[in-house]
């Protein structure tokens, strides 16, 4: 009877990183459901395609790094990156766009820095930023919302979407479906030009109420998912709340002073990828600040940057850039926001 010799502690909460990742993926489902309902199969196909690409790239890199495949693939971090990219990219993004974004995210932004836990930047956002800058046309072709998009005959069916994404899948005799693309509300608002906000909203040509409503519901879906994750203690409330609060405050400030030129806060909060960013992207633990105070500063920084870039920057949706910029700052924030240890007087 040989007794095991290990040192304490002998108990641990059963679970591993894969469980956390899977839970996060599950939490995106409400938002994904909304997206699929309103915008068709595109996002789902993109997610599947991106996952395949991600797993392939990760396997390749792990083989090069001589790591055991099963152990590293089952932490599902690659799949989570793929899911986030699939949600962020336009639903009709060509297959090669997704391929480039995902491949770059996995290989360069994650493994070249040392693998999971070692990357300083959010890999999904790195991939997104790369393709946004490289392929602006494709990245700004968003599908117009089609209510009951999955109803047959009304909108793009599954295979139509598939064909749009993978044009080489040629079905003999099938006609290409002409998708109706439309800018996102944020995009549209940014490029409204000289007309005032009120006119902008009144004009249905620029943005339709359905489109706006669709985007609102998508954002609310992501919010629900995020709240569930907070409930399950996957992450704390600090980053999402501080980010949204900062964004709200800033947009409120500017909108209150000049309503005709600045978007009202709800547009910022519910239009675009704000909610997705708040709950799924900014809270990525590897790249965020770790201390409680640090998280507040980090989230607030993202919120402020989102507003700045959206209003005065070149891009309509700034979540990716804001997050990446705050990734730079996170270590500095960590350094200056260490909590006071028990028994010590608080210094600095």
């Amino acid at each position: 009877m040989a007794l095991l010799r290990v040192s304490s502690p002998h108990l641990s909460r059963r679970g591993n990183t894969g469980d956390v990742m899977l839970l996060v993926i599950m939490a995106t489902l409400p938002g994904l459901a909304m997206l699929t309902w309103f915008f068709g199969w595109g996002h789902l196909i993109n997610i599947v395609w991106a996952s395949l690409v991600a797993v392939a790239c990760e396997s390749l890199t792990l083989l090069l790094r001589r790591r055991p495949l099963a152990f590293y693939l089952t932490d599902y971090s690659a799949i989570l990156t793929a899911v986030l990219l699939g949600l962020s990219l336009p639903s009709l993004a060509p297959w090669w766009l997704t391929l480039i974004a995902t491949g770059f995210a996995i290989i360069v932004a994650k493994h070249l820095y040392g693998g999971m836990g070692q990357n300083p930047f959010n890999p999904a956002m790195i991939g997104y930023a790369l393709v946004l800058i490289a392929f602006p046309l494709e990245m700004t072709s968003w599908l117009a919302p089609q209510t009951l998009a999955i109803a047959p005959g009304q909108a793009m069916g599954f295979f139509d979407t598939l064909q749009a994404i993978f044009p080489f899948i040629a079905q003999a005799g099938a006609e290409g479906f002409d998708a109706v693309t439309m800018a996102t509300p944020l995009d549209a608002f940014k490029h409204k030009g000289a007309i005032t906000s009120e006119e902008f909203w009144a004009s249905e040509l620029v943005i339709s109420p359905e489109s706006w409503k669709a985007w609102q519901l998508v954002s609310l879906g992501f919010m629900v998912g995020g709240a569930y994750l907070i409930y399950r203690k996957i992450f704390t409330w600090h980053i999402p709340v501080s980010m949204l609060a900062a964004l709200t405050l800033l947009s409120l400030l500017f909108w209150a002073t000049d309503p005709s030129n600045y978007a009202f806060p709800e547009l910022h909060l519910l239009g675009g990828a704000t909610m997705l960013g708040a709950f799924f992207i900014a809270t990525d633990p590897v790249t965020a600040a770790t201390s409680v105070k640090g998280k507040l500063y980090y989230g607030a920084g993202i919120g402020i940057l989102i507003y700045l870039i959206r209003t005065w920057g070149n891009y309509p949706d700034a979540v990716a850039f804001a997050v990446l910029l705050m990734n730079f700052v996170a270590p500095l924030i960590d350094h200056y926001t260490q909590p006071r240890t028990y028994g010590h007087k608080s210094t600095k």
């Binding site: 040192s7 304490s8 108990l11 990183t17 956390v20 770790t290 240890t341 028990y342 028994g343």
Partner: protein
């Protein structure tokens, strides 16, 4: 009843697993076939055994005494025989061995005489503490700190709160729970005694709310207590690790124990309820600490429960008693699952701090999962009760950046395991911190050792430097004196008149003159000619005349060398004892130089010049003189003075060439057996004497002028210390030889070069040795006399 409770940061809620072991009451102690009692069951110094192998001990008898202040005694848990006192493996994470007393019980359970203190309130505090210390009571909560020390906080600390730690926050352990359920009165009695010693203003009992029966039992016991207004039982939320002393204090009082301090620093003393019971038994019944309640639990034992265990009981006996299933037994932990340590064998004994034995199956506590990459989720920081940053500590420990880990307060980690419990990547965080703490301790140790070594090295360097400096100072002093003398002599010479600068110079002068006179006399005797007038002249001149110039001295030397006999070289040189401690070598060289110059020494008794002082001619001048002497032998102008002057000079090392030349000159000046003007005043230098002797033995037995001169000198010299026996012997010998020698001086063979390593004519080894010894002794004597001269000045 419950006052407002605070909380501590973090904490976890692991599954409690306590219900299995609270189904049955505490079982009475079982008597194993042997008891193993380590002498170190506590924090502090090891106890000292009081008994020897083979002795019979009684139950409760002290078998090992506390050593020092922080130490605890060990008592025999039952009556029996001491079978061994030997090293045994300790129940400790290290698995190291220490001295243990092995007792074989005899089954009689015979108690020793017990001395209770029934009226403890009237007894002095020191007596109570001594009694508790004699009972060997240490903290039974797990740390094992000697209780009497904890009950004696420093005088300047004001203790206002006494806390009894009844939290028992670790899963599986129920020992304190059952103790309180069954023996609450003893707990309160112990509380009374401790409160009497510490005199706090309030007593708090912190107990987790998963022990309602124990709370009730305590409440009942307090009802009948005279302190019941001061005692409060506070039921705290169940959270691990509320039972940690610092955490419990924070919950109950919202005070934080300062970093590096103890709870007494903030006016709080915290004891385990088991310790309180032990104190109560020690004071009221006189029973020492010989048993404790231990929980035996885990799925590998069929029955689970609590048992009162005699200290030293092997765990195997307990496991067997609780029906362990050997094939399922995978891990044996002493303590709880969060902070307990695994045991390698079941032969190890129960000690004072063993509150639980956890025998688990593989399914119950699976093997640790493989470590994954840290995803920086921060759950560890949320769980840490010490508000540390476990993530940062992990990074620093992993990369061996121990100074950064220290600055992140690694040493504040209480190793509770909450961080690794919550880690989703299964990182063994506590193991990393233990590793880092160990490395830091080793580095600290090495640094202290190297600091110590450096201090010793520096002290040694300082000592050596000091010795150097002292030597230097001495040499400098001598040099200064000699320089002063030289300056004075030069000044006198320039002026052409005798001008003793100071009394010292005058005495030196006198000594030199005496030496000269002696030399002259010797020369006179040796030659059989009337040297005395010359000697007298010399003496007179020496007394009156100032030192000759270098040139004159050289000339005189030449003459002297031409005239004198080789074997008399000493006589001249011997007078030249310089005050500044002319070394034997220098003297010898001077002598040699003199003998190599013109042999007319005694004829040229320097009229005027006193013996020049120590530092006379330079080496160059000497060499020149020598060369001149070699080339011009018959100049008989060298006066004793010159010769003396030459000799008196501090002889710098002559080059080999010069040595050879001198030798040749010596050889050439065969018949120049002239003696220099007998030196007066000072005795012949040791070298001179020795060389003379050597020369004598080499050439003819007649060449023994040295002793003659010696005796002359000794007769003439005033203020000389009595000649040593050696010198007297030498003198006698010389005298005997001188007579015969004088006839042979003309035809004496070449005198051996005084400085030669190998004499031209072979000398017997014995003679050489004698000569060397004589030289040394004489030079020593000469030095001493010189010193004496100086002193007298």
């Amino acid at each position: 009843m419950n006052k407002h409770l605070h909380t501590f940061h973090g904490g976890i809620h692991p599954p409690e697993n306590k219900v299995q072991s609270t189904q049955t009451p505490i079982e009475p102690a079982l008597l194993p076939d042997k008891l193993i009692l380590p002498l170190q069951q506590h924090i502090g110094q090891q106890a000292q055994p009081l008994i020897s192998v083979g002795e019979r001990v009684l139950k409760g008898q002290m078998i090992a005494a506390a050593v020092g202040y922080v130490s605890a005694a060990v008592h025999a848990p039952t009556s029996g025989t001491v079978t061994a006192i030997e090293p045994r493996t300790l129940p400790h994470p290290s698995g190291l061995s220490e001295q243990c007393i092995i007792i074989e019980p005899d089954g009689q359970e015979q108690w020793t005489d017990l001395t209770p203190l029934t009226n403890y309130q009237q007894v002095a505090k020191e007596t109570l503490l001594q009694h508790i210390s004699n009972a060997g009571i240490t903290g039974l909560g797990g740390a094992g700190f000697p209780t009497s020390v904890k009950l004696n906080p420093s005088q300047d600390l004001n203790i206002d709160t006494l806390i009894l730690n009844a939290a028992e926050c670790e899963p599986y352990i129920t020992a304190d729970d059952m103790l309180m359920r069954e023996r609450a009165e003893e707990v309160i009695q112990g509380l009374h005694i401790i409160a009497h010693i510490l005199q706090p203003s309030q007593c708090l009992i912190g107990i987790e709310n998963n022990k309602p029966e124990a709370v009730d039992a305590l409440q009942q016991a307090i009802e009948s207590s005279h302190l019941k207004d001061q005692i409060r039982v506070l039921s705290i939320p169940t959270k691990y690790p509320s039972g940690g002393e610092k955490q419990l204090i924070q919950i109950l009082t919202n005070r934080e124990v300062p970093n590096g301090g103890i709870p007494a620093d903030i006016g709080i003393v915290c004891h385990n309820v088991g310790t309180a019971v032990a104190v109560s038994r020690a004071i009221s019944k006189g029973e020492p600490l010989i048993s404790r309640i231990t929980t035996i639990t885990g799925e590998a034992v069929k029955r689970q429960g609590n048992i009162e265990v005699l200290l030293g009981t092997p765990i195997e006996a307990l496991l067997t008693h609780f029906e362990v299933q050997q094939d399922q037994l995978h891990r044996v932990i002493m303590g709880g699952p969060m902070m307990g340590f695994t045991l390698d064998s079941v032969q190890l004994p129960v000690v004072k701090a063993s509150n639980c034995i956890l025998a688990t199956t593989r399914k119950e506590l699976p093997d640790p999962a493989p470590e994954q990459a840290c995803i920086r989720c921060g759950m560890c920081a949320e769980a840490c009760p010490a508000t540390l940053l476990p993530q940062q500590l992990y990074w620093f420990s992993k990369s061996r950046e121990f100074d950064k880990a220290l600055s992140h307060n690694l040493l504040d980690c209480i190793e509770c395991g909450a961080c690794s419990y919550v880690c989703p990547s299964n990182i063994p965080l506590v193991q990393y911190y233990r590793f880092a703490k160990g490395e830091i301790r080793i580095e600290e140790h090495e640094r202290t050792a190297s600091d110590h070594a450096r201090q010793r090295f520096e002290a040694r360097q300082a000592r050596l430097d000091q010795e150097e400096a002292d030597k230097e100072a001495k040499r400098k002093a001598r040099a200064d004196v000699a320089a002063a003398a030289k300056k004075e002599k030069a000044a006198a010479q320039d002026n052409g008149e005798k001008k003793p600068v100071d009394a010292k110079a005058a005495v030196v002068q006198a000594a030199l003159e005496r030496a000269k006179a002696r030399k002259a006399q010797k020369a006179a005797e040796a030659k059989g000619s009337t040297d005395t007038p010359a000697a007298d002249t010399t003496e007179k001149e020496k007394q009156s005349a100032p030192a000759m110039s270098a040139v004159e001295r050289a000339k005189a030397r030449k003459a002297a060398n031409a005239a004198k006999q080789p074997n008399d070289s000493e006589t001249a040189s011997e007078g030249e004892k310089k005050t500044g401690g002319l070394s034997a070598l220098e003297k010898a060289k001077a002598k040699r130089a003199q003998s190599s110059t013109a042999p007319n020494a005694e004829d040229q008794a320097t009229p005027a010049s006193e013996k020049p002082q120590a530092k006379g001619l330079s080496a160059l001048e000497r060499a020149k003189a020598k060369r001149a002497a070699n080339g011009d032998e018959q100049t008989a102008e060298v006066s004793t003075d010159a010769g003396s002057g030459t000799q008196a000079k501090p002889v710098k090392a002559l080059s080999t060439l010069e040595k050879a030349k001198a030798k040749r000159a010596q050889a050439a000046a065969q018949d120049s057996g002239e003696t220099d003007a007998p030196a007066e005043g000072k005795p012949l230098s040791a070298i001179e004497r020795a060389k003379a002797k050597r020369a004598e033995t080499v050439q003819t037995p007649a060449e023994k002028t040295t002793p003659a001169s010696n005796t002359d000198e000794s007769a003439e010299t005033a203020n000389k210390k009595p000649m040593s026996a050696l010198e007297r012997a030498k003198a006698k010998r010389a005298e005997a030889a001188t007579q015969s020698e004088s006839a042979d001086t003309e035809t004496s063979e070449p005198v051996t070069e005084p400085l030669e390593e190998k004499p031209a004519a072979p000398m017997s080894a014995l003679d050489r040795a004698k000569a060397k010894r004589a030289e040394k002794a004489a030079s020593q004597a000469a030095d001493d006399s010189t010193a004496d001269t100086e002193k007298r000045d």
